[in-house]
């Protein structure tokens, strides 16, 4: 241990705060200037901590499951009635879907239609919130030999959740559709009009830039659009909801506040990825 005289030590202690505050501003500049270095540091840290988070996840999941169980027990009767009603409705839809499927197969056969390849997907567990105060993102734990890539699309069991933005050795970060930096090209299913779904850190992202004359209708289904080559067409996103102040929002199908497991789809789309992610020559096996 280096021995310093007491006045020198006191002077150093008094100086350390201003110097460190200056270094903090330097960190800000560094974060702006060298985003790649910061990203590497973040993913290295996330990789190191992902086992800890996976372990910490267990009690959280247990508590959440217990609460859900309790809620379900409380309203068992009402839930049952709702399910019976929904089951009837779904039976009717199933009949319609089967008829449509048969018709579709028939038509495809006549048109010599080349079907889209079935997309590859893998499932990963959500272990941490990677958004901080002003962002909406989650961290996924993946095995050491995962093949998760930037730009892959994350869906929960109901619909579109977000996109992979950072990939580490055993973890990946998914920017959720509600994040303020999220822009998703979508199609309004009724009018086939294109629009952009813009995140605003609230539960429901907004709809913007729809063509004049095709106003989104309340309750209209919103699906992804293949425009810009970032998403495949037709992934379920949500339904249109108008607010009282007259803004069109999307109520997402995905339950982003209680994500447990996400499915990551590889559609082989490079889309609007940053240049350094696309320039990397990666053979993408498409079958």
């Amino acid at each position: 241990m280096i021995r310093l005289s007491i006045p020198l030590r006191q002077a150093l202690a008094r100086l350390s705060l201003p110097v460190l505050i200056a270094v903090a501003f330097g960190t800000m500049l560094l974060g702006k200037a060298d985003a790649l270095l910061v990203e590497r540091a973040r993913m290295a840290l996330a990789d190191a901590l992902s086992p800890v988070w996976t372990a910490a996840q267990q009690p959280v999941t247990a508590v959440r499951r217990a609460i859900a169980e309790g809620e379900a027990l409380m309203k068992l009767r009402a839930e049952n009635a709702r399910l019976v009603e929904e089951n009837e409705r779904l039976h009717r839809w199933q009949a319609a879907a089967l008829a449509l499927e048969a018709e579709n197969t028939l038509l495809r056969r006549q048109l010599a239609w080349i079907p889209d390849p079935a997309p590859q997907f893998r499932t990963a567990r959500v272990v941490a919130d990677a958004g901080g105060t002003y962002a909406r993102a989650v961290l996924l734990a993946a095995g050491p030999q995962h093949n998760i890539r930037k730009g892959q699309i994350a869906l929960d069991e109901r619909g579109f959740a977000g996109r992979v933005t950072e990939v580490g050795a055993r973890s990946a970060r998914v920017l959720l559709a509600t994040d303020i930096n999220s822009r998703v090209p979508v199609t309004l299913e009724g009018s086939r009009a294109r629009a952009i779904m813009v995140g605003n850190n609230q539960a429901r992202p907004r709809l913007q830039h729809w063509p004049e004359g095709s106003l989104p209708r309340e309750g209209e289904r919103v699906v992804t659009s293949a425009e810009a080559g970032a998403f495949p067409a037709g992934l379920p996103v949500g339904v249109v909801r108008w607010t009282e102040s007259g803004a069109a929002e999307v109520e997402l199908f995905a339950q982003l506040d209680r994500l447990d497991v996400l499915r990551l789809f590889d559609f082989g789309l490079a889309g609007i990825l940053p240049p350094e992610a696309v320039a990397r020559p990666e053979p993408r096996g498409r079958r």
Partner: protein, 184 residues
């Protein structure tokens, strides 16, 4: 460490491995506890800003009651950890925590002697300042106006966490003091 005998009483025994380990653990506890709390705060429980809200009371408390264990370099490292963990623009957590540390450290003579309620009130003011600072920095670094709600939310969670955390940390502080008093 020199083991010179005191002017009176029994001579100080030489610093054994266990005692050295004990002292090191005691010195490291505040920072390690804060870091562990931040890592656990990242578990997805649906509360945005939980990490910052967990870090603020720790830095505030230790800067007042045990500034030797929470010096500015340690606060800097905690802030860096916060920024890296929460994927926010770099520097926001570092600057916020350093300023909180600076304010608490300057006012520690007064704050250490006030009642718990006044301390909590002072923490409310500091946390509000931290929330506003975080919001402004986010606006500057992200170059767009963030919604004010998450900041308010973070403030609320921090203020709500403070009594519980302060209770635990006070117990730890007392225990450490007793241990230091018992050591010759």
């Amino acid at each position: 460490m020199a083991s010179t005998p005191g002017p009176k009483g029994r001579p100080e025994p030489p610093m054994g491995l266990m005692r050295r380990l004990d002292a090191a653990l005691r010195a490291a506890f505040p920072a390690v506890f804060a870091a562990a709390l931040m890592v656990l705060g990242a578990t997805p429980v649906g509360v945005p800003g939980l990490m910052m809200a967990a870090a603020l009371p720790c830095v505030f408390f230790w800067s007042i009651f045990r500034p030797a264990a929470m010096p500015a370099p340690v606060v800097f490292v905690l802030g860096l950890l916060l920024d890296l963990l929460s994927f926010t623009p770099m520097g926001i957590g570092v600057l916020t925590l350093l300023l909180v540390h600076g304010v608490a450290f300057r006012a520690r003579e007064v704050l250490a002697r006030t009642s718990f309620l006044l301390g909590w009130l002072a923490f409310c003011v500091v946390a509000a300042g931290a929330a506003v600072l975080g919001w402004v920095l986010q606006a500057l670094l992200g170059w767009q106006w963030p919604a004010p709600m998450p900041g308010l939310h973070m403030f609320g969670v921090a203020v709500g966490l403070y009594p519980g955390l302060a209770w635990i940390l006070t117990r730890a502080h007392m225990a450490m003091r007793r241990a230091e008093g018992a050591a010759p």
